[in-house]
Symmetry: C2
Subunit: 341 residues, 2 copies
């Protein structure tokens, strides 16, 4: 019944080239490198897992009007859809392997949309080493609804989970935090950023998150627990604590900021709240023993992805996160900003 179907079906989104033509033309080439994808001409894909490895599997869905705008460039939509899944694989220290694509498409959507969408997938397949192996395509009277189930490989028992942090771990984060949330504020007209380069940098981070696949070996070696930052830094650090049975302290002043976020915060200090809780960062927050700190920082720098120490775990109510200022005073969220307790 399955792979992006090689034949029209009841309820297929069969405009223009028709379902068969679209799959043949735009999607089949994406599966060419993976023999188990069977050229998308079978009911299913066959996935061999090398001895000593296991699979990490994640699903993320996106709907037009909720997670993206219907008239966003299809290549941007494709990139975000794949990258949010790749970010989950990276956070678990799993090497990208393959993905299934499920699409509910309005009949009015033209072939050109799917062509541009597939081109976006193709570019990221090259960039991140992942391959389409199957899926389904159906018609919908509603908005475009997309779902990807991505598979990664990890040596058996070496996936990095949320629940395995220890109360004396340090907390680290990759890259910079807050850009995507500020970028969303810019896109929604809630934030004016005078400098054009800064504005573009923030919006680009919203549209094209960068899954930290480059850090997979580092995480596999050093991380006790990890999660990717989608809900917001404070909430996602809280998820680690929640599942690991400990509390966390976050040093607000240690949170790494891009030049664009730094200049924006200088003009609007109350936006620290957005930075720490806005989400959509697709950076990785992880914990590791204190003695790893120097090596993590050095290796991140070598790989071109800053790794910053931003706090520590401790005994305490599971999932509680205490945010501290540079002087170690607790900061409390008040209105749209933080204040001292």
């Amino acid at each position: 019944v399955s792979p992006p179907r090689a034949e029209p079906e009841r309820g297929s989104a069969a405009a223009g080239l028709g379902e068969f033509g679209r799959i043949e033309r735009f999607l089949r080439p994406l599966a060419a490198r993976f023999p188990g994808a069977l050229d998308l001409t079978d009911d299913a894909a066959v996935i061999a897992v090398p001895a000593g490895q296991e699979l990490v599997m994640t699903t993320d869905a996106m709907v037009a009007g909720v997670h993206f705008l219907a008239n966003d460039p299809p290549g941007d939509i494709a990139a975000k859809l794949l990258r949010v899944n790749l970010s989950d694989l990276a956070a678990k220290a799993a090497d990208p392997l393959a993905y299934m694509l499920s699409m509910a498409l309005p009949a009015a959507l033209g072939d050109d949309w799917l062509e541009a969408f597939a081109a976006g997938l193709a570019a990221d397949q090259e960039r991140y080493g992942i391959t389409l192996v199957g899926g389904d395509s159906v018609a919908t009277p509603g908005p475009v609804a997309l779902s990807v189930t991505a598979l990664g490989l990890v040596p058996r028992g070496r996936a990095v989970l949320r629940r395995t942090a220890r109360p004396d771990d340090r907390v680290f984060v990759t890259g910079t935090i807050g850009d995507a949330a500020l970028g969303l504020d810019v896109v929604l007209g809630r934030l004016e950023v005078g400098d054009q380069a800064a504005r573009q940098a923030l919006v680009e981070r919203l549209r094209r998150p960068e899954p930290r696949t480059a850090l997979i070996p580092l995480l596999r070696r050093s991380a006790a627990a990890a999660i990717d930052v989608s809900d917001g830094l404070v909430a996602d650090l809280g998820h680690i604590g929640e599942t690991s049975g400990c509390a966390a302290v976050l040093h607000a002043a240690g949170v790494p900021l891009s030049a664009a976020a730094r200049s924006t915060l200088a003009a609007h200090p109350e936006l620290l709240n957005r930075v720490l809780t806005g989400g959509d960062d697709y950076e990785i927050v992880f914990t590791a023993p204190a003695e790893e700190a120097a090596q993590l920082r050095d290796e991140g720098a070598r790989l071109g992805v800053p790794v910053s120490e931003i706090g520590h775990l401790c005994e305490g109510p599971a999932g509680a996160v205490r945010v501290e200022d540079a002087a170690g005073r607790e900061m409390k969220l008040v209105g749209r900003g933080w204040t001292h307790f």
Copy 2:
């Protein structure tokens, strides 16, 4: 970012219990038996594949107003969603293992809908031995859109594909054909079936297809090629021929019919077309050497699922299907029925 999320997110369908409460209450119990599902509290699931086995993976999507009606019983929707995926696994001779669930839900959908939907999943998890291991749940301004990616296990190299039929194979089919298509005609008011039991039997086959997981060992041992019948018997047999590079002959009189379909066809002989091409049967059409025929029939009978020989493959244009009557004359589709050539 992923498993049916254990926390509210931007764009979550957070009515009633809220996203967290719904997942905790209705979905987490479905994942309890599978340690790698991590209680749906992590970004991803971890799937170990036993030595000597490989995975078969399939995706099917369904949208309200296209594949089901918005007010259909949620348990029926759940059953159909899982079963169309299980049917793909069965056709590939893969034992059901686990599935990911992706849901786009309107905000207005109540907790009671998800509760009944989850109860439908739970019943079929028991029945078919498959377990929820993750997924995603997002809000949509449109209709309910659902997608399942199902995983099965098969000994390495033993998945039964479409492309591996041989031109001298016989063609077999499981169960009975045409019930779901006639059931759809009944539901849509296009067909009157006087006998109430017959009417119910046809509609039940539409609503609750029966994936032929019981025949997995038989298929693994005997089938050269297989596909599940979703597009229609003629089209799906054509897909085997298309990918295997041969033609097929289908004996219309040999196609197995239920008592309900038989009595309906007696009253409306022109509906033979619907039976042979209507689809949604979720039976398995497969090919095997002629010498297997007797054993296949016997073993099917023993397992309570008829296995009927309905034709053979031959040299000829890839994918061509010649439909013959009992006297071996070619039948041609004319209007809504078949006629002799």
